[in-house]
Structure formats: C-alpha cells, structure tokens
C-alpha cells in the first residue's frame, strides 16, 4: 500500500524512518483533499442536473423559495471541517517537532552555503568536502548550517527535510539514513543566477566503511565532475573520500608555528610582542598614525609582506617582512587560522580579557595543539555579508590550497 501510493504520488524513496512517517500523513491528507474536492463537485453537478431550469423565466416568473439551511446542518459542517483540520494540525505538528529536534547523540557536521555550493566540515574527520556529504548510515547526523552570502535552503527530498540556511544565523537539521546509498541535495531558496545548479549529494556509508573513511590518512585520487550525477555504487566510497586530511585552519596553525609567527603573536587575546591574532579578523585596528583599518584579508596579508606599512598602535615596528618566505598556500592558511580565531574575545587592553592569560609568554610552537577553541570543529568564517577572496578559493580536495586571488590583496614589492 505504501509503495503503491508513493509511486502514484511521485514521491521519492523513503530513506529515513521520518520520511516514511511524513508520507503516511501525506497519504491521509491528500486523499482527504482529493475526495473532498471530488465529492463537493459531484454534489454540485448532481444538483445542476437534478434542478436544471425547465423553462426560460419571463418577467412575471416566480421561483419557489429555496430552503434555508438549517442551523444544525451549518453547525455540523463547521464542526466537522474544523475537527478534520485540527486533526491534520495535531498530526502535522507532531511530525514537524520530530523532524526538527535532533537526538542528543547526533553527530555534528558543519555546513556552509554560498553561491552556489555546499561545503561540509567534519569535526571527527577534520576534513572538508565540497558538494558531497559523507555520513554513516544508521546514525543520526545533525547539520549546523550557516550561509556566507544570501539565504539558501538545504533540501533532501529522500529524507523529506528542508531548512533555510541564513546568513548571520545558525540553523540545524537532522536525519538518520537507514541504509547506505546516495541522496540528492537541492537548494530550494532562490539564491541568484545559478540557483538551480546548487546541488550536492549525500553518500551514506555502512559502519565499517565510515570508520575507514574517518581514519584515512593517505590521499587517494578523486574523481572530478558532478558527484550527484555519478553512477558509482556506494561501495566505491574510496573514490569520494577527501584527497587528504585537509583543514586549512590546522594547516595555518602549523605554518604559523613553524614560521615563528606565534613567538610574537598570541592566540588567546593576551598581549605579547605583536598584537594578538584573537579577534583580529574584521576588527578595527588603530594605527600609529591615528588612522584605523579593518583587519581583513588584505590587511593581514599586507602585514605579513610589508609589516611596517601599517603598524598597530602601541607596538614596536620590529616585525620582519615575510615576502618571498611564505608560499601563497601558507598565506591563505594563516589567514584562515586568524579568521578561525576571530570569535575569541579580544581583551580591550590585550592583557586582561575574559580569557585567562597564559602564565608565561608565548607557548612554544609544539604546545599549540590546544588553541582556545576547537578550531577544527567550526567552519572558518561564519560572518555573513562578506564574500571574501580566500573564501572564493575554498580548498577543493585534491587541490588542497589555492592562493588568495590577486585582485583584492595588494602585495607591495
């Protein structure tokens, strides 16, 4: 019965238990609707035939008075319809709450939407994926989503779930895929010229394969192209695993430690030889000459390459230039790292912040494994309204890091 109705109504496969429950309510509501519309129309048609006019009325024609509807009948109709609608509402609300409230043990994946792609970041794997979300089957997954530009909507027809992805807000959605398989992801909130191509794919893996996916360390070749149009079976999951354990923020952290940045710049808001990285990104930076600049990618890059051009007020102009010493990839990674530190509250005087200062100076690079926040677990930048150069070069697995585009960032020789 379920399968028959699902086929007649052109519903997609039911990949979660919730999808099946929603469909059962769907059948009830739609069948009631169709029967109601057909029944009333049939009644009306019956009346027209039964009570059709026998002769054209003349000036003096007089009709029999139509019966007035008795009050009990009106009451019965109103009560009946209202009960039906309230029943729909109760059942629908029950399903809605079930679709909306994730189980406590759900695994979290962060989703960043932008025109016109989906980016998935896994805290567990420390990996990022574009357009392909790999999840374990049989385990609830909660997506924490935000947008970098306009409003998008994350829609998986097979799961019967949908949630708008709003800049400046986090929204969540959750699902628990029953069996391994592929499921299409569509954007349903109009988001600009290529809205209809903003598609992605969810690949659910069986538990052992998921464990191998999570544990992978060595890079594997990745097939290019549109994943959701591919015909491979989920068994070939290796083909879709990320090219490497890739996390720009972590790469940036390593680079900053190796290159010595962290000897002078703290990451917890405390003051040291140079200004702290914490909360620097997009903050207003007061300069020695009394002006102010915004600590964006351009400023951070310029400060690495030409540090004396715009010196932070209250600091000595002692930083050497790194021009030619840092690769573009490392530059991008360090910027991402600084961005990831932006939610750490910068102490007003860079000494007594809400974050407890470290006991002594800057920690040696080797101890940087415990930054103030779980850096790998959050998408680098969630502030809306800014489409940033380095974001446009979001790393694509297989091509780990792209340099920031040259257009926006000026590097003076």
């Amino acid at each position: 019965m379920n399968e028959l109705l699902r086929t007649i109504l052109f519903l997609p496969p039911q990949a979660t238990a919730e999808a099946t429950a929603v469909d059962h309510l769907h059948y009830f509501v739609i069948l009631t609707t169709m029967c109601g519309a057909a029944l009333v129309t049939l009644f009306a048609a019956g009346f027209v035939i039964r009570y059709r006019q026998r002769a054209e009325p003349d000036e003096h024609h007089r009709e029999a008075p139509g019966p007035t509807t008795p009050g009990w009948l009106e009451t019965a109709f109103i009560t009946g319809m209202f009960s039906l609608f309230i029943l729909w509402w109760v059942l629908g609300y029950h399903e809605y709450v079930r679709l909306r409230v994730p189980p406590r043990d759900a695994m979290t994946v962060y989703v960043t939407a932008k025109q016109w792609m989906w980016k998935f970041s896994y805290p567990e794997a420390g990996a990022q994926e574009i357009a392909t979300l790999i999840v374990p089957a049989g385990r609830p997954v909660k997506l924490v989503m935000t947008s970098r530009d306009v409003i998008h909507s994350f829609y998986v027809p097979d799961f019967r779930i949908k949630q708008d992805v709003v800049p400046g807000r986090y929204t969540t959605v959750w699902f628990n895929v029953i069996a391994p398989g592929r499921h299409e992801v569509l954007c349903t909130q109009y988001c600009g010229t290529y809205h209809s191509t903003m598609r992605a794919e969810i690949i659910a893996l069986a538990a052992p394969e998921w464990d191998r996916f999570i544990g992978r360390a060595s890079p594997t070749a990745r097939i290019a192209g549109q994943p959701y149009t591919m015909a491979e079976t989920p068994g070939n999951w290796q083909m879709f695993a990320p090219a490497q354990q890739l996390d720009l923020v972590r790469l940036g952290e390593q680079a900053a430690a190796r290159l010595g940045c962290l000897r002078c710049h703290s990451v917890d808001g405390s003051r040291h030889i140079g200004p702290t990285f914490a909360g620097l990104y997009l903050s207003r930076v007061p300069l020695e000459n009394g002006e102010e600049v915004v600590g964006d990618e351009a400023y951070i890059t310029e400060s690495m390459m030409d540090p004396l051009a715009k010196v932070h007020q209250g600091f000595e102009p002692v930083m050497p230039s790194y021009l030619g010493l840092i690769s573009p990839a490392e530059t991008a990674a360090i910027i991402e790292y600084v961005k990831a530190l932006s939610p750490v509250p910068p102490a007003p005087d860079q000494g007594r912040g809400s974050v407890a200062p470290r006991p002594s100076g800057t920690p040696p690079p080797g101890e940087m494994g415990q930054p103030p926040r779980e850096l790998g677990t959050r998408p680098p930048d969630t502030r809306p309204g800014f489409v940033l150069p380095s974001e446009q070069g979001t790393p694509i697995p297989g091509h780990p890091i792209q340099p920031p585009p040259q257009g926006r960032i000026e590097i003076r020789p």
Partner: protein, 552 residues
C-alpha cells in the same frame, strides 16, 4: 402604473458609453463606470503580458537544460511574471474593474463616495505600472516577486524601479480601498441595510479593509529595503546586526493578507453568480457575508506559515499552523453555502456557472492543499517546491482568474449592453479548465518528487511532468485567448442585451444595460433583499423604487 421603471430602457438619457465623446471625456471622467472600463483595458493588457511571460517560462522548462533562454533571462522573467500577475493584474483586477463598475449600482448609488479619488487611483496605478515597466525595460529584477533580502540588496539587476513601482501601486490600492469603504458605509440607498447588501459588496468591503491595513506594511518594508540598500542602514543586513528573516515576517504580513485581497473579490463574484443562475437565495447569506470578514481578520494572523523552514521556533510554528486552520474554516463555509445554493434551485446552465464549476473544484483542491501545506510536518517537504507553485496557482488562477472570467461574462451585458456567444463561451470555459488542470496538476506531483521552484535547470527525472505541464500551459493560453476573443467580438457583433438578461434580483440589474451615467433614472428605495426569487422580476422591481413614483 409602470411609468418610471420600465421606462428606463427607452429613456432618452444616453448610457455612460455615449455620454460625452472624445479622449478628454474619458481621461477626465469622474464616472466610476468609465474609470472601470479604463482599468479593464490596462489590467487585461497586463494579464496578457504576464501570460506571455508564463508561456516563455513553461517553454523553457520543456528540457532539463537550456531550451530557448539563458538562466539570467529565466530568472528575470519569472520575477516579472510574478510582479505583473500579482500587482498589475491580480490585486487590482476584480476590485478595480468589477468592484468599480457594479459596487455603486449594487448599493443603489450614483457613484462612489469620492469620484476624483477614484480617477486618481487609476492614474496612480498607471504611473506605478509605467515605473514597473521601465524597470522591465531596464533589464528587470531577478529576485522573484518576494524580493527576499539579502539577495535583493546585492543583485545588480533593476530592483529599484520595480520596487518603486510597487510602492506607487500600493497607493492606488489604498485610494480604492478608502473609496469602497466610504461608499459602503455612506451611500447605500434607503432600505439597503447591511444584511441586505449583495454578497459581492461584502466581499469588496472585506477586501478593502485588508488593502487599507496591509498595504502600508508593504510600503514600509519596501522603504526599509531601499534605506538599507542606499544608506547601509542595516535593518536586514546580518553583517551589521540586522536580520534577513525580519524582512520575511514583514513581507508576508502584507503578502499573506494580499492573498485574500486576490481571492475575496473572487469569492464575492461566485456568491453573485450562483444565486443568479440557481434562481434562489443563497443557502446561508449570513454565513457567506460574515465569513468574508472572518477571512479578512484571521488572514492577518497567519503569515508565519510561510516561514516554517526559515528558522522559526517550534512554538511559533505550532501557533501559526493552528491559526491558519481558521482561514480554511471560513473558506469551507463558503464552499458549502455555494453548493447548498444549487440544491432545489432552478438552474440555468450558462457560461458564468460553468466557470463556477471550474472554480469550485479548483478552489477546494487548492484550498485544501493550502491547509495541507499549513500542516507543518508536510510543509517541510513541500516548502519552496513546485507543490507550493501548484497550490497557489490553483487558488490564484483556478480561483481568481476563473472567477474573473465568470465576472467578465456575468456582467458583460451590464457593462456593454450586448450578449456574447454562449456556445463559444461554454467551449472556452471548458478549455480553460482542462488547460489549467494539465498545467498545474502535474506541478503538485513535481513538488512531491522534490523539484524546487525557480529552477532554470533541473535533474532529468523531473522532465516528464514538466512536459505535461508545458502542454497544459499552451492549451490554457489558447483557451484564455478564445474566451476573451469571444467577448471582444461581442462588443461589436453581440446581440443587444436586455436590462436584466439573467433575471437576477440583485440591485445592479435594476439599471439599464448599459447604465446611464448616474446609474438609475430615479433613486432606488429598496423594500426587499437582493436574492428574493420568490418575488417575480416585476414585483421585485416595484419594491425597488419609491412607491409614489411607481404609483404615478
């Protein structure tokens, strides 16, 4: 005995169409009927413009990738389709054409309360339309008719003129609404108590209340978007602490009631057509009249059901879902009352009644799918898919356009004094229904299958249903041409109509067809209700004019 009443037809007083000639006598007229005719011409023009957009869109969707236009053009065109159909056609259509024309005679009045304001409403509408058209010529906006921020704030397309045009059009709505409300309150002829008003007047009255209360909110939100856009004010910009979802709340606070601006007049038309052709009083006059006000009131409380997946709390969603059910109740009351009116009537099967049948089925189906999408758990799957597109086209096209065509046929003899071809009218009506059904029913299934709305390109498994829908759209377009062509031909070649060809008892049919400039030869004094089919036509006319004159 019969000096005054039947004399109306042979009266030497010219009818409104021949009372003065030349362009100026039209452009400077204060006659509500001439203003209605000018609205008629403009609004039908925009109906066809919007229809052409729709056909281009449907043709593009024949194939999963590019068929005839590119993505940018497609996005602009569906925006222009929505803007044209909503603000240039659907909102003014029935109130400004048929409301303008028949509301005063329905109340036994010579004109609306503020004839100059009525003319101003026409000119403001024309200016707004020109500004919107200028925006279209400048490339058009690509935001969808909902103008959701932040996209509408950052797109490079011509959003500004389109939004400015809609802002201006809002004043036309407000002018009209004030005029109708004042007319209903002050210009009812002696003897027309509230409970003796024809049901169309109730529908127009309820519509006017919504227009008056909701349109300023639209103006407000459009101004906020403009300030945001021009001065970086940031009400809706999350980068500086604003909230894009606030825009959606404000937008739907207008646009959900606006749905009832579009559908209440349609219900009013149906409430006239059914008693007239069934030749009996409505099954529950009071229920139909009061439910119009009920819809107007509850319509303001249910905007939140457009935001179930926009990031709304579960509690809010529950409350808005529950409130939405009440709107459905009021609509259901009307549906039962119309059907009940056919029971034991004496039914003349004419074109307007066939349109009523189309309306009945499509409106019930569209309305109940409306309740279905207000059922939160189901809405999550359907939201922003073709299911929603199909749902509101069932209400807007299946409901309002069908009622618009019913009204165009029903009041055609009154407006132009001629009869259209009944045979062609019935054929066109059937074709409209079939075309409509094939256009939009497959879209429900497309929505079930998961096709999002506003998709230029789509995965290949959506194609079959899209082809069906496109075929239906071509049929619907041809049927509309046939229906309106039939009326246009009848303007010149139709048989002359009698004053009351449908043998209606409603008050507007007491005037000649077409009416004289002041509608009635003598001021009516009504001593009967508008659906008194127990009285003969002659008796009902006798009870509609002052006894002294009738006796004379």
């Amino acid at each position: 005995m019969s000096a005054a009443a039947p004399a109306a037809q042979n009266s030497p007083a010219p009818d409104y169409l021949h009372d003065g000639s030349g362009i100026a006598s039209w452009l400077l007229t204060r006659d509500h009927k001439r203003i209605a005719i000018m609205f008629y011409v403009l609004i039908v023009t925009f109906l066809f413009l919007g229809g052409i957009f729709a056909l281009v869109l449907r043709t593009e969707l024949l194939t999963p990738e590019r068929t005839i236009i590119d993505a940018t053009t497609y996005n602009r065109m569906f925006t222009m389709h929505g803007v044209t159909m909503v603000w240039l056609f659907m909102i003014p259509a029935i109130p400004n054409i048929f409301g303008n024309f028949v509301l005063p005679p329905m109340l036994g009045a010579k004109d609306l309360a503020f004839p100059r304001l009525n003319l101003a409403s026409l000119y403001v509408y024309a200016i707004g339309a020109i500004v919107v058209l200028a925006g279209m010529v400048a490339g058009g906006a690509d935001t969808g008719w909902t103008f959701y921020v932040p996209y509408s704030a950052e797109t490079k397309t011509a959003v500004a003129p389109v939004v400015a045009g809609i802002f201006i059009l809002g004043f036309s709505s407000i002018f009209t609404a004030i005029n109708f409300i004042a007319t209903v309150h002050t210009l009812r002829a002696e003897g027309i108590s509230w409970m003796r008003m024809p049901l169309f007047a109730w529908g127009i009255y309820a519509t006017s209340i919504i227009m008056l209360l909701a349109t300023p909110v639209l103006a407000l939100v459009l101004v906020l978007v403009a300030i945001d856009h021009l001065f970086g004010f940031g009400v809706f910009n999350p980068a500086i602490g604003g909230d894009p979802v606030l825009f959606q709340h404000l937008f739907w606070f207008y646009s959900h009631p606006a749905v009832y601006i579009m559908v209440l007049p349609a219900m009013g038309v149906i409430s006239e057509v059914v008693p007239t052709f069934a030749h009996r009083r409505p099954a529950s006059y009071t229920a139909i009249a009061i439910s119009s006000l009920g819809i107007a009131f509850v319509g303001f409380l249910s905007w939140g059901h457009h935001l179930f997946v926009a990031g709304m709390s579960e509690l809010d969603a529950g409350i808005f879902g529950g409130l939405s059910m009440f709107v459905a109740i009021f609509s259901a009351i009307k549906v039962f009352a119309w059907t009940g009116t056919l029971y034991k009537g004496s039914i003349a099967f004419r074109t307007p009644l066939l349109y009523f049948f189309g309306f009945l089925f499509l409106f019930i189906f569209g309305g109940m799918t409306g309740v279905a999408v207000a059922t939160q758990g189901l809405d999550v799957h359907w939201h922003d898919t073709y299911f929603i597109v199909a749902h509101f086209h069932f209400i807007m096209v299946g409901g309002t356009i069908t009622a618009f065509l019913a009204a165009a046929h029903y009041w055609f003899p009154k407006m132009f004094g001629r009869m259209y071809s009944e045979r062609v009218g019935l054929l066109a009506s059937a074709a409209v229904f079939i075309g409509f059904f094939f256009t939009f029913f497959p879209q429900f299934l497309l929505g079930n299958l998961g096709m999002p709305r506003r998709y230029y390109a789509y995965p290949a498994h959506f194609q079959f249903l899209n082809v069906l829908s496109t075929g239906g759209a071509w049929l619907l377009g041809s049927a509309m041409l046939l229906a309106l062509g039939n009326l246009v031909v009848a303007l010149k070649y139709g048989k002359p109509a009698t004053a009351n060809p449908w043998h209606s008892r409603s008050y507007e049919w007491l005037s000649a067809s077409p009416p004289i400039t002041h509608n009635f030869e003598e001021t009516p004094v009504i001593r009967r209700d508008p659906y008194c089919y127990v009285l003969s036509e002659h008796e009902s006319r006798e009870r509609s004019f002052p006894p002294s004159e009738t006796a004379a």
